[in-house]
């Protein structure tokens, strides 16, 4: 997929564990893990806002667009 989720990078930068972030954002660890591994199909604005607030970052720091390589398609 062309959208890359850099949640793990931001969590590592802020030295925050998955459990701690899930508690602060108030979503389950399983759901946060789906988001972190790029398995999610959509993200709510409220969730994105909460993650940005807790990690003190911008949405663009978590979600990055990278064009697919046509050779790999």
């Amino acid at each position: 997929m062309a959208l890359i989720i850099n949640l793990d990078v931001m969590m590592a930068k802020r030295k925050m564990s998955l459990g701690e972030l899930s508690e602060r954002v108030d979503i389950t660890q399983a759901n946060l893990s789906i988001l972190k591994n790029g398995k999610a199909r959509a993200i709510r604005f409220t969730t994105l806002e909460a993650i940005c607030r807790e990690l003190d970052c911008q949405p663009g720091d978590i979600i990055e667009y990278r064009a697919d390589d046509p050779k790999n398609e």
């Binding site: 759901n31 789906i34 398995k39 999610a40």
Partner: protein, 243 residues
């Protein structure tokens, strides 16, 4: 459990009971009531005939029966007399369905029952198709039972749009269509075989290939329902994977 779910559970339970009631009723009235009773009666008569022939030393004697053949254009209308009817009234019975018994002393067929059956009663394709048809309908009944059971369970666990449910529904729809075509094929092969035996006689059979389109329509409807289930499953997945 939510109130809506309870109502849904009750409806599914009612369907569950109705499903088994319908199976028992169809078995009792359709198979035991007429078909099996007729088959048992005829089977008893035929086996009695075979035993008698064998008792007289005719070891290779066998009898086969073609059941319920459709008659196309009967030349053997039977006039019936009823003295209680007013003068000038005529009664004519027209034969629409025919049971055909085939007797053979099996002298040419080397005593092989299989050879006898395939030569005079059909081709191996008819027997294979008949077995496939029986298996097809059995799978449909089992799948229906599994779907209703799985629906009850998935409502309890609040996960109605289960992948298994729509896959099984698709199988039922496809099997209904396949069984309708297979049944028509068996009828076509059987009637044509019997028509050859009846060549030159007064009985003319309907040898056209006719599919029961009601079954085909039902199959298409069930396939459409399965697609609705598939859309529901996709939407559930979408909702689950929205964080």
């Amino acid at each position: 459990m939510k109130k809506g779910n309870k109502n849904l559970q009750r409806r599914i339970l009612a369907l569950y009971i109705a499903f088994f009631a319908a199976i028992i009723a169809s078995f009792w009235f359709g198979t035991l009531g007429s078909g099996l009773a007729k088959g048992f009666r005829d089977g008893y008569r035929v086996s009695d005939q075979i035993v008698n022939e064998q008792a007289y030393g005719n070891q290779n004697y066998w009898v086969g029966v073609y059941y319920d053949l459709p008659s196309a254009d009967s030349e053997i209308d039977i006039e019936l007399n009823n003295p209680t009817l007013p003068d000038g009234t005529k009664l004519k019975a027209r034969i629409n369905r025919v049971d055909l018994m085939v007797e053979n002393n099996n002298t040419i067929l080397d005593g092989s029952l299989w050879k006898g059956l395939t030569t005079l009663m059909g081709t191996p394709a008819i027997f294979i198709c008949s077995w496939l048809l029986v298996i097809g309908y059995a799978v449909i009944v089992v799948m229906m039972f599994l779907i209703i059971r799985s629906l009850r369970r998935s409502i309890k666990s609040e996960n109605v749009f289960d992948r298994k449910n729509f896959v099984r529904t698709r199988i039922i729809g496809a099997l209904l269509i396949v069984c309708a075509v297979l049944s028509a094929l068996i009828n076509y092969l059987t009637v044509n075989k019997a028509a050859k035996l009846l060549e030159g006689s007064a009985v003319i059979l309907d040898t056209s290939f006719s599919v029961d389109f009601w079954d085909v329509l039902m199959g298409i409807m069930i396939l459409l329902i399965a697609e609705a289930f598939a859309i529901g499953y996709d939407m559930t997945q979408e909702q689950k994977l929205t964080i």
